[in-house]
Symmetry: C5
Subunit: 158 residues, 5 copies
């Protein structure tokens, strides 16, 4: 049985993370049905994610936000991100809320790198959660994994 | 079949964005039924938007807030904006939450320019979302579009 | 048919805005039934407003909060104000969330002036919204009205 | 008919405000049934308050939180306090959300004084609200009452 | 009758707090059924906690988050933590929302120590709450207990 995965991305973003996610999901879950929904900015994402779950029957969604560096942008991030929590709690489905913040890097090429790495890794996380539930990531628990940058690793040896 | 679009604006705003939105919507969606609701300030917007959707049957709403530059204003923005998320999640309709912040520009004429540009562009976004769903903005995904200012463009060539 | 209007005020406030609201409402809406509910502080306001709507049948409510100047006070403002949004969205009734912040003015007499002006003007706003809906304030849309201070006016001539 | 009042307190607090509240409530409402629920910290308070109302039938609850002075502590305060609003709106019962913040005073003895005064005065407020509704505090409206410190009084003579 | 306890942990964390919690719970509640759910980061925790309660029937859950030191991390903490409140209020079950913040200590070994101590002590708190309700922690009320560090004790003798 194939899974259904949703992608919500924005026209505000400066990297086409949606297409990267689409390509990645097709590679790691070739049988998955993929639904994509493009909105203007991060505050338009939550209702789109909800519609993908409720109207398209998605088993999980990855959302790809791009956040400016002003205080207003940060506040909008809180608003959008909290609404994504509400969608998850309403539907009992995972939504991986990926965001790239413009204050994460000084150079554009670094921001691009963060966006691509974060998108790809979180696509994998989403597929693992959707197909294997809470067991699939067990072996990485506490391992200091990072998306967007290199893993920092655990602070202790186990 | 014509669409129904709601506009919520405020008496606090220093630019009559509601009339601009009304005019813009009539141009780009001549058959649309347009409902307008004017409230005092941003914290009065969410229930008005909800009433336009539930009582007038609007398929989508554009809200036009004006936000002062104090910390209290910013906090009120969070409050209003989060409530607009709740309305969207309750109704599964898009509400484009347009706000102009007084700290975005130093000169009044620049604020006016931002307000007009943002209103017009987001009217287009709303009509696209309401009439074409998540597909309509696909070709602009990750293109660094901006409302209120010129587009900044994508960081990568695709 | 007379309207029912609720007033929620606090013992924390340093101006008896509740009595001012009561007097103002009686003047501008002589047939209105007025319900008043006094609570200790702003965080006690939302449930009181909800009770006035659900148990007394109020068509709209004005709440009169007084906010200290510490970070904790500001955070409490967010909490109370967001809860007032929830009440509005639950009941589809307008609640005008009036607050006076102690950092708005240095001199006590100025704070008093702000409190009185804001209360009176928002009483008018509430009655307009309750009796005329979203049309009543249309002519002031984008006019830069202020409550607590003088109107700043629009930035453009229309 | 006796009222039922709930007390939620924490092991994080450095003053046993729960016992103070219990003693105070017994003095001012000798016939009241008192339920007490002790949790680790402020984020554990809301569900406890909800259970006291829904499972024990409490007519009102006083919660006694103690908040550290870091940014994380302040954010946790927002989270807990907002959740207490949700409980109130769900149940239509007053919950007086008492908190003592470690940055309110420099000396421990002053913090103790604040904690005791605030607890005692808010117990009185709760009993008044539960037994007399929105009328009971009317005569103190706008009087600048404070809990934890001396009343500051009104800014105007009425 | 055995209790069911859930553990939600992350791959972002740099200490395997989930395994520590699992071991601790087995020691202090040998008959407990333990369910573990590993997610990428803190924003993925709330829906996992909800699923453990609703789908596995957990009587209580401990969540183990790791929070970076940027403003964005702090905001994500608020978002996740507030969502955990919503899960508690929806289910009337305690969720102990444990988080370790990277700005709590300068040295890695100190962070590890905090993580371990906090996890162990809060496992005890959870079992006490689940098995004894609001009475179990009564004797520690106001005692200035700390998790992650040594107890600071009460400010007054009782």
């Amino acid at each position: 049985m194939s899974i259904k995965v949703g992608i919500v991305d924005t026209t505000f973003a400066r990297v086409d993370m949606g297409s990267v996610a689409e390509k990645t999901l097709k590679e790691i879950a070739p049988n998955a049905l993929i639904y994509r929904y493009t909105v203007p900015g991060i505050k338009d994402i939550p209702v789109a994610a909800k519609k993908l779950i409720e109207e398209k029957g998605c088993d999980g969604v990855i959302t790809l936000g791009w956040v400016g560096s002003t205080l207003t942008d940060k506040l909008s991030y809180v608003v959008a991100s909290l609404a994504l929590q509400l969608v998850q709690l309403k539907t009992n489905k995972h939504i991986i809320d990926v965001t790239v913040h413009e204050d994460e890097a000084e150079k554009p090429e670094e921001l691009v790198k963060i966006a691509l790495d974060r998108t790809v890794k979180h696509c994998r996380n989403l597929v693992t959660l959707v197909t294997q539930g809470g067991e699939g990531l067990r072996r990485y628990a506490g391992k200091g994994l990072r998306q967007g940058r290199e893993d920092v690793g655990p602070l202790t040896k186990t």
